[in-house]
């Protein structure tokens, strides 16, 4: 008898889990891997208070996120850069009106191996490293150690931001520069290579690598990447992160975005190591 009840309960449970995706609203979020930790955490928390809405979060990169909105294959496109002119015109030509929601900030940290004694660099010095004119740490006041330049792949949004914000639009031309498929791979390579320099999102900073203070010019001020410095607009290598929708959204998508922009959502942004869009009262 008990066995029958258990079977029945199992059956009811199975049927209800099968039925759940049908009953719930599903939001598809696709795009930049930089936004991914934010999207994942906020989706989880949002689902806890609104179980009727299921959010599916996928990566793929900023270009993919924007393309997904243009093609209508996602409800929200994640991007860590602003849309390009070609993407705007492509969208408008297809009758899509992209609405860019400013949901968080990302600061890029320039990182080195923890054993490296160098503390600060100017943009000019970093540019020299990525262009191949600086090949040894002794050229910037460090030890006699061959420089290993580490970059994200040139198609990624993270590289795009670094190129615009630090390299002044130049490409990475240093011979033997390592190109990594993910931020985690950049971090891992820098952590394993004494002579390495790389760049990663603030959300990925950890004690395995050390962040440098950076300044646009020798005159300074040299500023360390930190949440306060980014919010205050003091830190030079930072950028806004966007979620893109087609037109102004309604229903579940609007509810989700309003949640991210609320104080509770922005605290989650802070929790993932990114920087909120405004200073939060604690």
């Amino acid at each position: 008898m008990q066995c029958t009840i258990r079977k029945l309960a199992t059956l009811v449970f199975m049927v209800s889990t099968l039925a759940l995706p049908v009953l719930a609203d599903t939001i598809t979020v696709k795009g930049s891997t930089t936004n991914l930790p934010i999207a994942q955490l906020t989706a989880e928390e949002f689902n806890a208070i609104r179980p009727d809405i299921v959010i599916s979060v996928q990566g793929g990169g900023s270009g993919t996120g924007i393309a997904a909105i243009i093609d209508g294959t996602a409800d929200i496109g994640n991007t860590s850069r602003f849309m390009r002119v070609s993407e705007w015109s492509n969208a408008v030509a297809k009758g899509v009106l992209p609405y860019n929601w400013y949901i968080a900030n990302d600061g890029l940290a320039v990182v080195v191996h923890p054993s490296n004694p160098v503390q600060e660099l100017t943009f000019t010095q970093i540019q020299g490293m990525y262009a191949g004119t600086i090949t040894n740490w002794s050229q910037v006041g460090g030890p006699d150690l061959r420089l290993v330049v580490v970059s994200r792949d040139t198609a990624s949004g993270t590289f795009g931001s670094f190129k615009d914000l630090v390299l002044d639009g130049a490409e990475v031309t240093a011979p033997g520069a390592l190109f990594q498929p993910s931020t985690a791979a950049v971090e891992g390579t820098v952590a394993a290579t004494p002579g390495a320099i790389g760049y990663i999102g603030l959300g990925y900073l950890n004690p395995r690598v050390r962040a440098l203070a950076v300044a646009r010019t020798e005159a300074g001020p040299f500023v360390l990447p930190s949440i306060d410095n980014v919010v205050a607009g003091q830190y030079a290598i930072s950028r806004p992160l966007f979620m893109i929708t087609n037109d102004f959204p309604t229903g579940a998508v609007l509810d989700y975005i309003n949640f991210i922009l609320s104080d509770a959502g922005q605290r989650l942004v802070l929790e993932t190591g990114y920087v909120p869009v405004r200073v939060l009262t604690r």
Binding site: G63, T64, A67, V148, A155, G157, A192
Partner: protein, 278 residues
Amino acid sequence: MGACAAASLCALGLIVLFLFREGLPVFRTVSLGAFLGGRHWFPTSEPPSLGILAMILGSGLVTGCALLVAVPLGIGTALFVGEVAPPSVRNPLKVAVEMLAGVPSVVYGFFGLMIVVPWIQEVLGLPTGQTALTASLILGIMAVPTVASIAEDAVAAVPDTWREASLALGATRWQTLRTVVVPAARSGLLAGVLLGMGRAVGETMTVLMVSGNSPMLPPMLGWPVRTLTASIALEMAESPVGSTHYHALFAIGAVLFLFTLFLNVVGELVGNRIRGQA
């Protein structure tokens, strides 16, 4: 069975069609010569530079050096399994080599990144262990099963009467192996090498993880290197569908396809010749 064959042929046909349909539009932006011989690969620049010479040479270097590992090991294994080893050793060894082929390439890559890369970095005193050499070593091991299995078939196809005749004439087993079996199986061994080459040139995940992906000219063993396959895997996810960059990546795919097709056709022709002889 005929339907199955037709289905796989159909799939191949569609893949080829798609590859070229998506790849050819890149030549509206860049000429074939500038694509194959261009020294710079800056696909996201305005305007983009779409030269894949560094990657062609990178793939060539890594594949060539991988063969230096795979050919001696693969053919040595085949000769040992087919000619020397007693049955009690032969079967476990064959299973082991087959298992080598069954290990997912991402596992090879992970092993390479965690173990081989730091080891190369330390032993050779290089600034980074993500080099062409590292990729070659691991790819070489990965290509051993391909080379070994085809070489083994080739050796097995040599008629026993030839061996018996050689031994009867007073030749030792080593002399028989060297002067009768290997020359007779020559074409099949070559086919194994060519197909092993196809395996190495097409491998993606492992190379992506351990080679540093740097489009260097000229590529050098102790330096990072970028292969054709790694370029596609690295950038495909981020290139917007229909962009020049996207078409360029498909064109790289077409180049790879033509190269492996060439290797397979030559490998098959050479392989058939040995079967025809024997």
